[in-house]
Symmetry: C2
Subunit: 194 residues, 2 copies
DNA sequence: CATCCTAACTAACGGTCGTTAGGCAAATAT
DNA sequence: ATATTTGCCTAACGACCGTTAGTTAGGATG
């Protein structure tokens, strides 16, 4: 089937783009570069995609939707704060480790989106941040969490989770589940012996 | 004095470049852009600087040296691990918050350095990481820290500290000293009430 | 077999990139 | 007063950018 070939090529292009955008950044990656990796001419890419930015949009919003979807599913479970927190961190880390290239692009290259996509993206990110903020709030209300500054705590957690791409290797000894478990342990109890 | 004017202009260029490199990224910032901010032509920049990359080099290595210098001074103090850890985090956060633009460039744009600068830079970063790794090691040997995976713990801490630029506002209610204090508290004891 | 469609090609577009050369007016030094 | 230096200018270089137009070979479809 013809459409299947197209879809495959389109997927190949997206895959290559994710990789190059991650490695060199969106602005420093040219269409000729992407095409070269696939052994075709830059102009040929336009049989499959609309523009360079369209690729970026797809990467950013695909991941944003994954994060939001997982947060909505977790919210429906009506778990106590501590358990919700554990599962949320685990889910977040699962998504990141399963989409390493996309994640880095998602985290750092979204600023090259043009309007209205840029605003939409920021809004989705804010929604997701609020999901975590509410977990912290709930934990504090349940007298389970002790939080001095909510924003600081929130971003300590996000930064630690989102920084995973800096050191994670898919075939290393630490697998996503264990990373999540250990990270939760650090967030909840710290590194001090008692 | 003529050299004073040059130095000032050079500093202005560096200052503007730091700001634009942070805001738009190195690759997406053009010399014409930097010049435009200063009200001159792009070609005129070359009376003061050698190349675009030279600016990036200066930003990256200036900060790398600050981090290393502060780590060497702390090491000379021969403090117990927990106290050393506190002071190291405080110093790191001080440097970041005092150099917000440079920090973001330092953290994300170094990959656009060409050789041999790229390798030199990575080496300096590794040295600094080892300083922190040794603090964790020392804390574990003193039976003060409980660390499951050293690399994971190390990068949780680094990511949290380096992510400060995502949310810090110089005139907000949280000042660097207090951020450091609260972050140390989270790292050491976590957010769980006991 | 004739027709259509796909995925690639070549050629080229207007534009921007970092950088160099050469000149010129004002400031500084002698 | 003269000579030198400075800080900018204009013009231009070759290279590369994202993208469009038009074409063509070859496979799928009738």
């Amino acid at each position: 089937m013809a459409t299947a070939i197209i879809k495959n090529r389109k997927q190949q292009i997206h895959h290559t783009a994710k990789n190059l955008f991650r490695e060199r950044g969106y602005a420093a990656t040219s269409m000729r570069h992407i095409a070269g990796e696939l052994g075709i001419e830059a102009a040929s890419l336009y049989s499959h995609i609309k523009s360079k930015e369209e690729i970026l949009q797809l990467i950013c919003f695909e991941l944003a939707e994954q994060f939001l979807k997982s947060s909505e599913e977790l919210q429906r479970k009506k778990l106590p704060a501590k358990e919700l927190f554990k599962q949320a961190v685990t889910e977040h880390i699962r998504i990141i480790t399963q989409n390493m290239d996309s994640s880095v692009v998602f985290l750092h290259e979204w600023r090259h989106l043009s309007e209205p996509f840029l605003s939409d993206f920021k809004l989705m990110r804010k929604r997701y941040e609020n999901f975590y903020k509410n977990i912290l709030k709930a934990g504090a209300e349940e007298k389970k969490f002790q939080i001095r500054d909510e924003k600081l705590t929130l971003f300590v957690i996000f930064s630690a989770m989102n920084g995973i791409y800096e050191w994670f290797t898919p075939n290393g000894k630490l697998q996503p589940e264990e990373i999540a478990e250990q990270m939760v342990e650090v967030f909840l109890n710290g590194i001090l012996k008692n």
